[in-house]
């Protein structure tokens, strides 16, 4: 006796095979291909039974090797029984294969595997399923060896009276007509062949061509067109739809979902956060709460680190030495003062600056990791897509835009996935306007210093502004420069889960470590250069008007004046062109301490600077990538100009209005 095990992948088919055959297995390959074939022999109730494990498949089309092997085996070898191993926890999905198997053979035994798990999910009516299908249905739990004997017993003595899956009359007529034409051919299961011919199945067509029966092929072609005309649909869809409807109907007959009418917590949350009115406000609140959390929780840590390195000047004027002061005095005892100053107040203070800033970075990444691991960020992409559609953008490259919040480089690269050239250019043009992780760090840094009481609000306003500008420009561009139709798409949203603590910390550490390492190396270089600029030519006051840096600043001063941007900021912005996070380093080297930086600008000037950083030219790496992707210098220039135009516009606007109203001055 020959039994074949068929079923979807991951249904526990292999466990069932092992449970039945035990050690008596033979593993080889299917003839001519490298797909694994497992066979085993057992004796049950005195009968010798050979069991073949067929490859796992979802359907029996001609599209994949596994599916062709499976259906050919059942068709040609005619196993006495085919066991359809069904993952009962995903019943509906597994029933589609059953509909296809039922067309191939009548002798099917259904193994409802993982039955114990499935009972937690639905109320399953096995008896009704037996009656509706006219086939043995046996609950099994392969990994616990449960139901194996019943299954084998059913294979030997089962009652097979399957209900036929019948198509509408217009289709059935034609199936019969084709069947009649095959009458004198030596073919097993002519009905199946007829259906597959109508479905335009490439393998079966080949078979008939080899048999030299062009007439049947022509007739099938003709009949197919007739059906397609009647239904106005292509036949493959039509027939697959019938099968799906059958599976769907059967599922609802035999299974009654338990919790919340089959609604999971993920469904419930998505119902709200993707809501057309509440979705956006909820996102704004989540974003605000996240920033608030980052700044507030980081503050004590920052202050502690600052105290340890930089010490503190008391109200009485007495100075408590920090580690750097102590190190300076110690080094000055055996090396020239200028060298000790360079090492301690140039480089070490810069490194300390990075360290004091680390808590913000860590908490920022902590919260981002939580949002990402929990699955909420994917919903934000979906929400933005919906919003974009509303203004006529149809979610062009929204995923690549969302990636931009991490880093613009991979984001620009990901636009390759977009089919449509226009769409691609549009999302490349918009991408640099999304503040990347590095820019967000700079915002966090400046915000933490200048906006003690409204940090989260300031951050929030920047992100909101950038998204607004992207949406607005996207709309304008798609109506003017990058016209064209957008591709409809759907996203697979992962279910929400409580992120694992370990996962979050690994994530957070990986990201923070990247920042620290980079900032650490850059600061040594940048600090060196800037210290030199501030100290040269020999003999001037350090960082004074006559030093190189003072001269550069003096020269640049009129440039930034209308925007309230200080010359030092311009220097920082210049270095930021190479990598945005360097802006932080430059500020620390130029000003030395947070207090000095705070004294150098008004909050209004700082805000104007933030707006400038938000939009001005993307970093070198991003520009190089844009060039690589478009091979157009013009496009790169366009992106730079676009950035500067927006930066100048918004910081001028903010500074002018702010000065006029007298806010933050």
């Amino acid at each position: 006796m020959l039994i074949a095990l068929a079923g979807n992948p991951n249904t526990g088919k292999s466990s069932l095979f092992n449970a039945i055959t035990g050690a008596h297995q033979h593993i080889g390959n299917w003839p001519g291909v490298t797909v694994e074939k497992k066979e085993g022999t057992i004796t049950f109730e005195g009968k010798k039974i050979t069991i073949v494990d067929l490859p796992g498949t979802y359907s029996l089309t001609a599209y994949s090797l596994e599916e062709v092997i499976t259906r050919n085996f059942i068709l040609e070898e005619e196993p006495d029984v085919v066991v359809d191993v069904i993952d009962a926890t995903n019943l509906e999905r597994n029933l589609y294969l059953l509909t296809e198997l039922m067309e191939l053979t009548d002798r099917i035994v259904i193994a409802l595997n993982m039955f114990d798990e499935a009972k937690k999910k639905y109320k399953l009516d096995v008896k009704k399923m037996r009656e509706l299908l006219g086939l043995p249905v046996i609950p099994t739990v392969a990994i616990k060896d449960k139901g194996i004997k019943d299954l084998l017993h059913a294979c030997l003595h089962g009652y097979f009276k399957p209900k036929k899956l019948s198509y509408p009359e217009d289709v059935e007529n034609r199936v019969e007509k084709l069947q009649r034409m095959m009458e004198n051919l030596d073919l097993k299961n002519k009905r199946w062949h007829a259906i597959k011919l109508l479905e335009n199945d490439s393998e079966v067509r080949k078979k008939f061509a080899n048999l030299g029966r062009k007439d049947i092929l022509h007739e099938a072609e003709h009949l197919r067109h007739e059906i397609e005309d009647i239904y106005g649909d292509d036949i493959e869809t039509l027939i697959a739809s019938f099968r799906y409807s059958f599976a769907h109907g059967l599922f609802h007959e035999v299974a009654e979902p338990l919790n919340v009418g089959g609604v999971t917590i993920t469904d419930m949350i998505d119902h709200v956060v993707a809501h057309k009115i509440f979705g956006l406000p909820i996102f704004l609140v989540v974003m605000y709460l996240s920033f608030e959390f980052v700044f507030v929780v980081a503050a004590p840590f920052q202050d502690a680190i600052d105290l340890i390195f930089n010490g503190k000047t008391l109200a009485s004027g007495q100075h408590i030495n920090g580690l750097i002061d102590i190190s300076y005095h110690w080094m000055a005892s055996f090396m020239p003062n200028w060298a000790s100053s360079f090492i301690n107040y140039g480089m070490l203070r810069g490194l300390a600056a990075v360290l004091t800033f680390t808590p913000i970075i860590m908490f920022l990444f902590l919260i981002l990791s939580i949002l990402e691991d929990s699955g909420y960020l994917a919903r934000v992409a979906f929400l933005m897509d919906k919003l974009m559609r509303k203004i006529g953008l149809e979610g062009r490259g929204i995923i690549s835009l969302m990636l931009g919040f991490g880093c613009n480089v991979p984001a620009v690269m990901s636009t390759r996935a977009l089919k449509n050239e226009r769409e691609r250019e549009l999302s490349i043009a918009l991408n640099p306007l999304i503040p990347c992780g590095a820019r967000i760090q700079v915002f966090a840094f400046i915000t933490a210093i200048f906006f003690k009481h409204n940090q989260a609000l300031v951050m929030w306003s920047l992100i909101l502004l950038s998204m607004g500008v992207v949406a607005l420009l996207g709309y304008v561009y798609s109506k003017t420069i990058f016209k064209g139709k957008a591709e409809p798409f759907v996203m697979e949203l992962p279910p929400y889960r409580v992120p694992s603590l370990k996962g979050i910390f690994i994530h957070m550490w990986e990201k923070s470590e990247g920042f620290l390492r980079k900032a650490g190396t850059i600061i040594v270089g940048a600090a060196g250069i800037i210290w030199l600029l501030a100290a040269l030519p020999w003999g001037v006051q350090f960082g004074g008007e006559n030093s190189y840096i003072g001269q550069i600043a003096h020269f640049l001063a009129p440039v930034g004046a209308p925007f309230g941007i200080t010359p030092e900021s311009i220097i920082a912005l210049f270095f930021g062109f190479f990598a945005k996070e360097v802006v932080i380093d430059v500020f620390y080297v130029l000003y030395g301490t947070k207090e000095a930086l705070f004294a150098a600008m008004t909050p209004l000037q700082a805000y104007s600077l933030l707006l400038f950083i938000l939009f001005y030219t993307p970093c070198v790496a991003t520009l190089a990538t844009i060039y690589n992707e478009t091979k157009s210098t013009k496009f790169v220039l366009f992106v730079i100009l676009e950035g500067f135009a927006l930066a100048l516009f918004f910081s001028f606007l903010a500074y002018t209005i702010g000065s006029f109203l007298g806010v933050g001055g």
Binding site: L258, N259, V260, G261, G262, V263, D267, M268, I269, H271, V272, V273, F278, P281, I282, L284, V285, Y288, L289, E292, F293, V296, V297, A299, P300, D303, A304, L307, K312, L314, A315, I320, A456, L457, W460
Partner: protein
């Protein structure tokens, strides 16, 4: 007590709490626009957050009582946001306390005088409204 009655009581309780939060949120925004009140600290986005959270609760209340999952979803997400806002304010209070003493090192500081934001009370009060979450499998997509 019948399940229906328990859910009804829980929803009524949360709706009253949500109404208070809504008013508090409005006053917090008003406060930041210059209209100071004693009980609501001026906080524009904090107020906005409260308004959104409580609107979700009120929006979902009616269908929650009807045992529809559509209502329950809004009710629970709103409650979760309210609890998150409360939790955040507790963390803020703790962080402020820690920061105060760190900045005090080496100086003679007076003891820390805490001001407790109303959101912190809301955190504890909102936890009591979660009852429908624990009986969520009695809810249905449509009225049976």
């Amino acid at each position: 007590m019948k399940l229906q009655t328990k859910v009804l009581l829980s929803v009524i309780y949360s709706s009253i709490l949500a109404s208070f939060s809504l008013i508090l949120g409005i006053f917090e925004i008003a406060g930041s626009l210059g209209l100071h009140t004693n009980f609501a600290p001026p906080d524009i986005m904090g107020g906005f957050s409260l308004i959104i959270a409580s609107s979700l609760i009120l929006y979902g209340a009616k269908n929650t009582v009807k045992f529809l999952y559509d209502g329950l979803s809004f009710y629970l997400v709103g409650l979760a946001l309210l609890i998150a806002i409360g939790l955040l304010n507790i963390i803020i209070a703790l962080a402020d306390l820690l920061d105060y003493y760190i900045l005090c090192i080496g100086e003679n500081c007076s003891g820390y005088s805490a001001h407790i934001r109303p959101e912190i009370y809301i955190f504890f009060l909102a936890l009591l409204g979660l009852y429908p979450f624990f009986v969520r499998w009695h809810f249905r997509r449509k009225v049976p």
